[in-house]
């Protein structure tokens, strides 16, 4: 199989997984919040009387988005107003280029690498694209010529800058341990075992960093309890002046960012596609038992393991979003600067000391 065909197929696979999951999350968020609050949730959209537990609402919503008027404010800047949602969605989607959705799976006489590209700067690429997303927000707020949109954009910019720092610094301890910025190397490292039985996952090695990363990640994806840039109940946020599919794209980018955070947490801290005790030739249980498996079966289990982790962290983020009330803006800034940042620096110091005197 040629390089290009391989890249196209894997890109298609990853894009379809991510976009399908993002669409499903719009439905899941409504249903899950309903269940958590003893309600029933969206179930009215039906095709020929079939309601399919509200799944048709995804189609109904997107149809509505496409059919609405695409409105640009009279004094807005049309070019940037149009560009903003594309930047938001692009930055969120492009992150998946270097996230491994599985190992090299042998398929027939070839092997399929379930990642689009792998290099020794993967993690930097992820962080860089994550912070570029701020342009989408700021263009949207600035080009709308609307004070509420502008306020939302300012809040968004300040919040993303503040949490970007804690997000990046919390990862340094991890990088010191793994010794690589390549996400594949990081996942391979996590296939080892500590004391012979504990999987050497990032969450075991760096529990504090995991917590900080998850918090900062949720803040980066701008959802409750950190949804200051949107502020649904007061300023509506940077997409106040957006309608039709441009708004839909922002909406989709929000859910893609949820998947990004879920994917990064599972890759960096929960072993990516590693399944506990599963190695390339089968299970190696701590007692010394060995259960051989075909390479294809191992590959499929590992792809499934990554999918399950991805889904679990999406679910966790939705649960957090529907459980916690919103922070006040000064509380948000205090948490970011006076709490997460010092903690992540302390984490680096402690990690360094342990690594030196090990």
């Amino acid at each position: 199989m040629s390089e290009i065909a391989h890249a196209l197929i894997v890109t298609g696979y990853i894009l379809s997984v991510v976009l399908t999951l993002a669409a499903l999350l719009t439905w899941m968020e409504r249903k899950q919040s309903a269940l958590m609050q003893d309600r029933i949730g969206a179930n009215r959209a039906s095709i020929l009387g079939f309601r399919a537990i509200g799944l048709f609402h995804i189609i109904a919503d997107s149809l509505k988005m496409f059919l609405k008027e695409d409105f640009v404010p009279a004094r807005g800047v049309r070019l940037f107003h149009t560009l903003a949602p594309f930047i938001s969605a692009f930055c969120a989607l492009a992150i998946f280029a270097c996230i491994p959705f599985g190992p090299s799976v042998p398929l027939g006489d070839t092997t399929v690498n379930l990642w689009i590209f792998d290099s020794n700067i993967s993690l930097l690429y992820v962080l860089a694209l994550g912070s570029l997303g701020i342009y989408g927000i700021f263009f949207a707020g600035w080009s709308s010529h609307n004070k509420f949109a502008y306020l939302g954009a300012m809040r968004g910019a300040a919040q993303m800058l503040s949490y970007e720092i804690a997000l990046g610094i919390s990862l340094i301890g991890l990088i010191m341990i793994y010794g690589s910025l390549s996400l594949n190397d990081i996942i391979h490292y996590q296939g080892q075992q500590l004391f012979g039985f504990l999987p050497a996952w990032g969450v075991v090695l760096q529990p504090l960093a995991c917590l900080i990363f998850l918090t900062a990640g949720i803040a980066e994806s701008k959802r409750n309890p950190f949804d200051m840039p949107e502020g649904e109940s007061e300023i509506i946020g940077y997409f106040t002046e957006y309608s039709s599919m441009k708004f839909g794209l922002f909406f989709l980018a929000d859910f893609i960012e949820v998947i990004v955070v879920a994917a990064l947490v599972s890759v960096l801290f929960f072993g990516g596609w590693q399944f506990p005790y599963l190695q390339a030739d089968g299970f190696h249980l701590p007692g010394g038992t060995h259960w051989a498996l075909a390479p294809l079966a191992v590959g499929l289990i590992q792809v499934g393991a990554f999918g399950a982790k991805l889904f679990f962290f999406c679910w966790l983020q939705l649960t957090i979003r529907w459980t916690l009330p919103r922070f006040r803006y000064d509380q948000l800034m205090r948490l970011g600067w006076q709490f997460l940042l010092p903690l992540s620096i302390v984490n680096i110091l402690v990690t360094g000391i342990i690594l030196v005197y090990r």
């Binding site: 269940l35 958590m36 649960t319 957090i320 916690l324």
Partner: protein, 176 residues
């Protein structure tokens, strides 16, 4: 007002956040289980949500519910109202308009020539029912769905009040 003092554990956020997550997660999975059991026809008596699926499955109403008015009739089918203006006088929303007329029967003083209630103004207080000396007006139709595209459409005339289609229409599925 004094702020409650938080303990160290509460100030750490995390234990409290975990406690909150446990509560919502418990609700999530308990309700999910009940819904799945309903799908396969089990646990019919247990409710997975407090929602009433309104048009198909209306919410139970109390027997004493005050709903749309009706005018009672004599055995011969004429109205029992004697146009004494008690209800029009007591009505706090002033939504009852009666025009009195002489009754052909000399034993009965008056009868309404027209009797209009503007449901767009009515506050459903039930004072008219209390004030009526003849038990001529009642609010027991259990019709709660009243809507119209115009203000005029909200006006009930004497014909609407006397000839509505369900006389004793207390819903069967309702708890009394």
């Amino acid at each position: 007002m004094t702020k409650p003092k938080l303990t160290v554990l509460e100030r750490l956020y995390l234990p409290e956040i975990l406690r909150g997550l446990l509560i919502t997660t418990r609700h999530h999975f308990a309700n999910l289980t009940v819904h799945i059991l309903h799908r396969i026809g089990l646990a019919k008596g247990k409710r997975g949500a407090v929602t009433f699926q309104y048009p198909e499955d209306p919410r139970p109403v109390a027997r004493r519910l005050r709903a749309r008015h009706r005018l009672m009739k004599r055995p011969d089918g004429s109205t029992r109202c004697v146009a004494c203006m008690m209800c029009e006088t007591i009505c706090p929303a002033q939504c009852i308009y009666i025009v009195a007329d002489e009754h052909p029967d000399p034993r009965i003083e008056k009868r309404p020539k027209s009797f209009d209630i503007d449901l767009g103004i009515c506050v459903m207080c039930g004072y008219c029912v209390e004030a009526c000396p003849e038990d001529a007006i009642r609010m027991d139709t259990y019709i709660t769905e009243t809507s119209s595209f115009t203000r005029e459409g909200m006006l009930l005339t004497i014909d609407d009040l006397m000839n509505h289609h369900n006389e004793d229409s207390f819903p069967r599925h309702t708890s009394s």
